[in-house]
């Protein structure tokens, strides 16, 4: 066990955990931010996507020891009032069905648009391929990303 100070959503959180524990479980079970989801545990589905220093990262395979000193943002941290352009576009296009993967989808899209405000369809394809959705909301996600990129 070891103590870690993590900068999450602008706050410093201190936890005493196994250094090998994936950041996902630290965020969910110790810090209590449950918007980030467990889907596969091997960085294949994107449900656990967070931002680390602005880049999308799959937190299910990122040991907590590698997160210290980084700026971490989770779904709870991208807007105060659920009004990030990506969130508004998601609601407008009625993207979510079960909703479980959508935190990861939103975080992936936000990271894409931060880096590339006007992505081509191919660039959207490439970025969003890392986030799986079993409900099949992809077509609406595409519309929402394009809408958010224009707002």
């Amino acid at each position: 066990m070891a103590s870690f100070s993590l900068k999450i959503n602008g706050k410093i959180e201190t936890v005493d955990v196994d250094p090998a524990m994936p950041l996902l479980w630290v965020i969910r079970d110790f810090i209590g931010l449950t918007g980030t989801k467990f889907g596969c545990g091997i960085s294949q589905c994107g449900a656990c996507t967070i931002h680390m220093d602005g880049k999308p990262v799959q937190s299910c395979v990122m040991p907590v020891s590698a997160a210290e000193g980084k700026v971490i943002t989770t779904i709870e941290g991208i807007s105060e009032n659920n009004d990030h352009p990506v969130q508004l576009a998601w609601i407008d296009e009625q993207v979510p069905q079960c909703g479980y993967c959508q935190s990861g989808q939103v975080m992936t899209a936000v990271a894409l648009l931060d880096k590339n405000p006007n992505p081509s369809e191919e660039e959207i394809d490439q970025a969003m391929n890392s986030a799986l959705c079993r409900c099949g909301t992809y077509q609406r996600i595409k519309k929402a990303v394009l809408k958010a990129s224009k707002s």
Binding site: M1, V17, D18, M21, P22, W25, R28, D29, F30, L33, T34, G35, T36, K37, F38, G39, C40, G41, I42, Q44, C45, A47, T74, I75, E76, I78, S79, N82, Q87, W90, I91, Q94, V95, P96, Q97, C98, G99, Y100, C101, Q102, S103, V106, I124, D125, Q126, M128, N129, A131, L132, C133, R134, C135, G136, T137, Y138, Q139, R140, I141, K142
Partner: protein
């Protein structure tokens, strides 16, 4: 699964029983907790579905669990329509689980809207009549001079009272048993694509799923089960697991899957990661007693052997056998499908706390009252002492209709005295099942001299969900799901040859409708080709007695310009199926892209009778298409008695860039609503296979399909 059946009369009587006592805040509400509580003081209940506060804010309770299918929005829309309120006045909350108040709350078989439509209308209309009567009493006028609209009762003289002003008095009146329902042509809410109130909760991480639940004193369990189902634990390294920091207990446990006991070794710790690490250290040795020789190949070989049997008759018209006996030109085709996994994005999980005379459940389930029944019966606890906290589900697809996942957690809670949260890994979900069945379908037909089908036989060789254990060897009608008997064919025989295997199976989205139509609608296409006829015209000619199928086919022909000259380089395939009352036809268009077949567009016409929310039906169809594509491209392989594909790296889901354009048209309908949650899935595989044939001349009869090497 048995649940309390409530007669309609009894259901309406409950209205007055629960009346004013249901006050918001009494309701344990895991889903609704995340909705901002904007209500003013003292909302008053008019029945178990409807509460109104003094400012006229309307709180409507959805009593069916939400797994993505949209009942969270649709049930309140039906209530609001008859209650005569504006949907923007409405705040939706999830009801408690209580079969006495709410009847059947399971979400299975696309049943919710079908079975609740009339009941919800009556609940809304009864509350509206109570409010109107309360106004009439206050004004001392005849109730017939009063009308309700937009949350306001108006007297013919022009004076008005709002629902907020009336609710207190209305709650003291008894509920009318047969309230007058609106003429559907006056619907203002039903039939509108009103945006879902759960969508905002699902874009900022605030929606709560089972896996997000916690309770004080809770411990986490990760459970190792035999990779070969029905294997028995011989030995395991308890000390190695206990040596992991945070691990508290190592205990054996079990659960029942359709009458068969599945053993497990549980590592219990104060956090999930420690439990998981401890489990990895267990090194369990299993006795798999010969089951480890079984593979997908041996199963399918057995099925081929079994297909020689005549089989049990599931449906019969005319005498197909006589036609076959007199023909020397019988067309025969066989179709194979593999096992599939449900793959809800939220892995299985549950929290159980079992005490001496009480118990509590937290989790995402399609069957909340089933959880209560299990805990009550198993531990001899009065049902009223079992508290059920159910949440949004991160997908269900049938897997969450079962109570098996609760059994281990409850047992471990009983053993340790602590609330236990069991979280499955993705590998657990993939390898433990239960799965969608695999099947072999053998279809035979004879065409007459005009190219019409004179006899058709469809034989299904598969396991049956309800007959996995026990001695019943006779195939039941469940096996023939999705086989279209609506075609006017003079001689038809649908047969089943029941199989028993150690691989556990269960309900999977659309159930046997997800397997049989691949064979049936591919075979109809093969017969059209043999007869030299257009596949759409060939079907249409057999549907004189089936106006709903006829309508969806005519509409899809129009929408896809089916009879216009074909576009070069595009293959088109058609299929039609009925599921849960919904009738739908689908056209898949494919093209050659870099020597692979690529689906470009999937067009669906769907008739669901009265449609409560067309956009939700479209979303369900889009989801069915994507799930159908994943099932067409991949599947589970059994090798050495266990599943090979353990996670998304070997069982890939269709990705964002692989999603074709999906066009869905919901036909206006006036019939009672049908179920829409599985529509589109049954048609995807046959329409895709038929499109591939149209493009390449190659007939796909085995799933999963390999789209490479065909063009």
């Amino acid at each position: 699964m048995k649940t309390a059946q409530i007669s309609r009369r009894k259901f309406m009587q409950l209205t007055s029983v629960s009346g004013a006592c249901l006050v918001v805040g009494c309701v344990p509400n895991s889903v609704g907790e995340s909705i901002a509580n904007l209500s003013a003081i003292n909302p008053v209940g008019l029945n178990q579905f409807i509460s109104i506060d003094n400012l006229g804010k309307v709180i409507l309770y959805n009593h069916r669990p939400e797994m993505g299918q949209g009942v969270y929005q649709a049930i309140p829309m039906i209530l609001a329509e008859e209650l005569e309120v504006e949907i923007k006045q409405v705040e939706i909350r999830q009801s408690e689980a209580d079969s006495k108040l709410y009847g059947d709350q399971r979400v299975v078989g696309s049943r919710t809207i079908r079975s609740e439509f009339e009941k919800m209308r009556k609940m809304g209309a009864a509350a509206k009549e109570m409010l109107t009567s309360a106004a009439a009493q206050k004004w001392k006028v005849n109730v017939r001079e009063c009308s309700a609209k937009n949350g306001i009762v108006t007297h013919s003289s022009g004076k008005t009272l709002s629902y907020g002003e009336l609710v207190e008095a209305a709650s003291k009146l008894s509920a009318p048993e047969n309230p007058t329902l609106k003429d559907p042509k006056d619907f203002k809410i039903i039939g509108q694509s009103i945006k879902r109130q759960d969508a905002p909760l699902k874009t900022n991480g605030s929606a709560k799923f089972g896996i997000d639940m916690q309770t004080p004193g809770m411990l986490y369990a990760s459970i190792e089960r035999s990779p070969v189902w029905l294997g028995k634990a011989i030995s395991y390294d308890k000390d190695a697991a206990l040596a992991i920091n945070g691990v508290k207990h190592v205990l054996t446990t079990s659960r029942q899957v359709y009458g068969r006991k599945i053993e497990g070794v549980a590592v219990i710790a104060d956090n999930y990661w420690a439990a998981f690490k401890g489990r990895q250290a267990l090194n369990v040795v299993w006795d798999n007693k010969g089951l480890d020789k079984i593979s997908s190949e041996t199963i399918m070989q057995d099925f081929r052997q079994e297909s020689q049997k005549k089989g049990d008759v599931l449906h019969e018209k005319g005498d197909a056998e006589a036609v076959f006996n007199n023909s020397n030109d019988i067309i025969v085709s066989s179709y194979e499908l593999p096992y599939q996994s449900h793959v809800p994005m939220e892995p299985m999980n549950v929290i159980a706390s079992v005490k001496e005379n009480s118990a509590e459940y937290w989790g995402s389930t399609q069957n909340p009252n089933g959880m209560r029944s299990y805990l009550s019966k198993k531990y001899n606890i009065p049902p009223e002492n079992v508290k059920i906290n159910y949440t949004f589900m991160g997908g269900g697809f049938g897997r969450r209709s079962m109570t098996d996942i609760l059994e281990e957690a409850a047992d471990l809670s009983k053993q340790t005295g602590a609330p236990i949260k069991v979280v499955w890994t993705r590998e657990d979900d993939q390898t433990q099942g239960p799965f969608r069945n695999c099947s072999l379908n053998v279809c035979r037909a004879v065409l007459d001299k005009d190219g019409n089908i004179s006899a058709l036989e469809h034989k299904v060789i598969a396991q049956e969900i309800g007959k996995q254990s026990g001695n019943d060897t006779k195939a039941g009608r469940q096996l023939m799901g999705g086989i279209t008997t609506g075609y006017s064919i003079p001689n038809v025989a649908i047969r089943g040859v029941l199989q028993k295997r150690h691989v556990p199976i269960s309900y999977w989205r659309a159930v046997y409708h997800s397997t049989n139509p691949f064979a049936h609608e591919s075979f109809i296409d093969e017969l059209a080709t043999k007869a030299g006829k257009d596949p759409l015209a060939f079907r249409l000619a057999m549907l004189q007695d089936h106006p709903r199928f006829k309508r969806v086919l005519e509409e899809i022909a129009r929408l896809t310009n089916w009879y216009d000259s074909k576009k070069a380089g595009i293959g088109r395939g058609l299929a039609m199926v009925e599921r849960s009352g919904a009738h739908f036809a689908m056209v898949v268009e494919v093209a050659n892209e870099n020597n692979r077949v690529k689906p470009l567009r999937v067009t669906t016409i769907i008739d669901v009778g009265i449609c409560v929310n067309p956009d939700i039906v479209r979303a369900q169809t889009e989801g069915s298409v994507v799930m159908g594509l994943t099932a067409a491209y991949g599947g589970l392989t059994v090798k050495e008695g266990r599943i090979v594909e353990q996670n998304f790296n070997s069982y890939p889901l269709v990705k964002f860039s692989e999603c074709p354009e999906i066009v869905t048209h919901v036909l206006p309908g006036t019939a009672e609503p049908d179920g829409a949650g599985e529509a589109g899935l049954p048609t995807l595989a046959p329409a895709l296979a038929n499109a591939i044939f149209d493009l390449t001349g190659k007939r796909i009869r085995k799933m999963p399909m390999d789209l490479g090497g065909l063009v």
